[in-house]
């Protein structure tokens, strides 16, 4: 167990690699209750979400979710988040555990001029994620919701193991799967029921370690590693979460200016050519000088390669180009590859 944003979290249960492989080939169960929730409701809820979030929330139908940035006026990240449209004027944001206090204060400040209630509802939800190609068949045994009707990045309210909750077809692993929001008092019951229902499929619990290696294979950014309040949405190569056509929002002007100028640096994916793992914070060396930093890096149990992400000068952010990473005083060679490293086979 390790302390993580005030929670005690298991890095691994039975072993990081086998948990990672279970998610890629069968299914793994994650307790992600540490994630924070903020709900915005009221007459101006749409306008308030549109102001604080980079993506275009007006395009969300009720029952639909998307990834977005909680952006600063500079177009950098206060946090990244999933935005769920619960109702016409009711949204739920899922934010990072380590940022809950900061985000809640930020949202309160930035939505002051709107007729909206913004409430930290983190304590009302336990969040349990079942991820993997067999997630649906296992989860369906426990739910009255016809899971085939929930499309990717959509959700529905219903019963899971006899507990009233919300089933969302989302995740942070690059695999198909579900995240279920249930009352904390019922979380253990739901957790046990899912493991029980998945016994034949050998569903196993998976910890923070596998969550990190899985999300990295899928090239999902991690706040604090790959993105933060010094990296813009464009630096992070996430232009698809910018709602250019929705009107004003925090950071819009800065991002539009940056786009017109062209980005100076961009995040890239890389594979190590030399036998080494380039980890978070290691310097990227180009032409003998430091040209950026590795933001995430690991040896992936599924692809069995050392991979990572790094910021490099935009002119060098081209697949096939190479750079060095300084690893404990030595240089190791890396090649830029397209992201993501892993894409699940479409069934």
């Amino acid at each position: 167990m390790v302390p993580f944003a005030g929670w005690d979290m298991p890095v691994e249960y039975s072993g990081l690699s086998q948990e990672h492989l279970a998610v890629r080939t069968r299914a793994g169960l994650f307790d992600v209750t540490h994630m924070g929730q903020v709900e915005l409701a009221g007459k101006d809820a749409v306008a308030a979400v549109q102001w604080i979030s980079s993506n275009d929330a007006a395009r969300l139908k009720i029952g639909q979710a998307h990834y977005s940035g909680l952006t600063t006026p500079a177009g950098t990240f206060v946090d990244d988040m999933l935005v769920y449209r619960f109702g016409e004027d009711h949204f739920l944001l899922v934010i990072n555990a380590s940022n809950v206090e900061k985000d809640v204060a930020w949202i309160a400040e930035q939505t002051r001029r709107f007729d909206v209630a913004a409430v930290d509802t983190s304590a009302r939800y336990a969040l349990i994620a079942l991820q993997g190609p067999l997630a649906r068949q296992v989860m369906q045994r426990l739910s009255n919701v016809d899971l085939a009707t929930i499309k990717y990045y959509w959700f529905a309210h219903g019963e899971i193991a006899g507990v009233r909750g919300t089933l969302s077809r989302t995740g942070y692993t690059g695999e198909d799967g579900y995240e279920v929001f249930v009352p904390p008092q019922q979380a253990v019951r739901v957790w046990d029921a899912i493991l029980d229902a998945g016994r034949d499929e050998d569903v196993i619990p998976a910890g923070l370690g596998a969550r990190d290696t899985l999300r990295l294979e899928a090239a999902m950014r991690l706040y604090g590693n790959d993105i933060d309040d010094t990296t813009t949405v464009l630096d992070a190569d996430l232009e698809w979460i910018i709602g250019w056509n929705k009107g004003e929002f925090l950071g819009r002007q800065a991002l539009a200016d940056q786009k017109a100028r062209g980005v100076a640096r961009r995040i890239v994916g890389f594979e190590m050519k030399d036998r080494a793992i380039a980890r978070h914070g290691y310097p990227v060396i180009i032409d003998g000088a430091e040209a950026g930093r590795v933001t995430s890096g690991t040896q992936t149990p599924f692809l069995k390669k050392a991979i990572g992400m790094a910021y490099v000068p935009a002119a060098r952010a081209v697949p096939g180009m190479e750079f060095d990473v300084e690893i404990r005083g030595r240089l190791a060679r890396a090649t830029i590859v397209p992201l993501p490293f892993y894409k699940r086979p479409r069934g």
Binding site: E12, L16, S17, G209, T213, A276, I277
Partner: protein
């Protein structure tokens, strides 16, 4: 569990001495803590080591750890075959020697733990 023909450090290395030299590796406890070992970085033959000096690194998916020499001496041999198959550190830790050190001072061994003492330490 822990072979009686080895001696152990509190940093979870073992040394198996034959004549004037000893082979060094990491213990079963250490490999379990590390998880899947993916890279080994080992020194050149001929390097002089002090007691407790780092002679390389072992890297798992989770973390990088330094390897510390249980004794002073000169690196006599390096197991480059193991560096090619680092997963053997997980499957057979007490047979997976990393370096062989010619002992400068056999008295260094007196400070190390027996298999029994080490078992107690990691219990």
């Amino acid at each position: 569990m822990y072979p009686a023909d080895c001696q152990y450090t509190k940093d979870h290395e073992w040394i198996r001495v034959t004549g004037d030299a000893g082979q060094v590796g990491i213990t079963d406890y250490a490999q379990k803590q590390l998880g899947d070992v993916v890279y080994l970085d080992l020194p050149q033959v001929g390097r002089t080591l002090k007691v407790g000096e780092s002679f390389g690194t072992v890297e798992s998916v989770k973390a990088v750890s330094e390897l510390y020499s249980p004794v002073a001496g000169v690196v006599k041999a390096v197991n480059s075959a193991l560096a090619e198959k680092p997963e053997r550190v997980n499957s057979d830790p007490h047979a997976s020697w990393m370096i062989e050190v010619t002992l400068a001072s056999p008295g260094d061994l007196d400070a190390l733990m027996s298999a029994e003492q080490y078992s107690d330490l990691v219990k």
